[in-house]
């Protein structure tokens, strides 16, 4: 049975600035939803709140209608999260990072055999190009067992060849994960997502196409 994540009434203010005002959204395994918004609109804040690394002023998180405490998201591995900033240890080689994520040889092979990875396996993480690093981080996080995945700018600084591989990979992941994706490369995001939301003035609005993104002030 496919799991569904429901987030209700998320509010968050930094000082007097209300970044999120009663935001609600839901997505299920088998679905990719996109979240657009201008810089500073609260996209990353919302993802961090969902992941449990930032405390909301108010929120109600449910998975399959069962309430989930934000503190349980990480230890129970309910949601995976690809943050904006690179997070792998730069002094380690790619082949040494993979076993940190996967103990099982078959799981490790899945990463080693992914496109582009074999040729950089002996390189140190710190020497990878931004695109290679982003792609490696995505592979490592996305193959973990979390039923839901949050991706903060997975296409950022990615060269076109990698972008196509990432898009195919995310579409293949849909079968077992629910994915919430945010990125300014809106055409790539629109290509692979099933539903689109735009954060405007702290609230989510539904968008169906590029004209809606313009109407909602995300594009000119």
């Amino acid at each position: 049975m496919k799991k569904e994540l429901q987030l209700h009434n998320v509010s968050k203010a930094f000082g007097k600035k209300e970044v999120l005002k009663n935001v609600s959204l839901s997505f299920a395994q088998g679905e990719i939803i996109s979240l657009f918004g201008r810089n500073g609109s609260g996209k990353s804040t919302l993802l961090k709140i969902l992941f449990g690394t930032l405390k909301a002023d108010s929120m109600d998180l449910r998975i399959d209608n069962k309430q989930v405490h934000p503190k349980d998201v990480i230890p129970k591995q309910l949601i995976g999260y690809l943050p904006q900033d690179n997070f792998l240890p730069k002094h380690l080689k790619v082949r040494d990072v993979i076993p940190l994520f996967y103990k099982n040889g078959a799981d490790q092979d899945l990463i080693f055999r992914a496109p582009f990875i074999e040729k950089v396996a002996t390189h140190k993480v710190g020497t990878l190009s931004l695109g290679e690093l982003r792609y490696l981080e995505l592979l490592l996080v996305a193959h973990l067992e979390h039923p839901f995945l949050l991706l903060d700018e997975p296409f950022s600084m990615i060269e076109p060849l990698y972008k196509e591989v990432i898009k195919e990979f995310l579409l293949s992941l849909k079968a077992k994960k629910g994915i919430l994706l945010t990125d300014h490369y809106y055409r790539d995001v629109l290509d692979i997502s099933d539903r689109h939301l735009v954060l405007v003035d702290g609230t989510t609005q539904i968008a169906n196409d590029v004209s809606d993104l313009k109407r909602l002030g995300y594009l000119k």
């Binding site: 990480i74 999260y81 943050p83 996080v141």
Partner: protein, 97 residues
């Protein structure tokens, strides 16, 4: 988890060694100096090691979060391991005195 422990403990060892060298003149015996160095390592050193990790490698926490470790778990386990190591070393120093 081991990678986090190693990174934090390397900072902890560096801080312990620096403190020990800086305060060398205060001691008239090697065992007293070692004793205090081990105390610093076991009690305060890990906290300072964690602060150093937070300063230099903060983004790496997201690797551990994705693997199911909370920051509190990582810090507590690292501190406990270093505390046990410190207790063992203190026992050895006391026995050799």
């Amino acid at each position: 988890m081991w990678t986090y422990y190693r990174d934090v403990t390397l900072y902890t060892l560096a801080i312990t060694l620096l403190t020990s060298f800086a305060s060398a003149a205060m001691y008239n015996s090697l065992s007293a100096r070692l004793f205090d160095a081990v105390l610093i390592f076991g009690i305060f050193g890990t906290g300072l090691g964690v602060l150093s990790f937070n300063y230099f490698q903060k983004a790496q926490y997201y690797m551990y979060y994705n693997l199911g470790f909370t920051r509190q778990q990582l810090i507590t386990r690292t501190w406990l391991v270093n505390l046990v190591i410190a207790v063992i070393f203190i026992g050895i120093i006391v026995l050799l005195r």
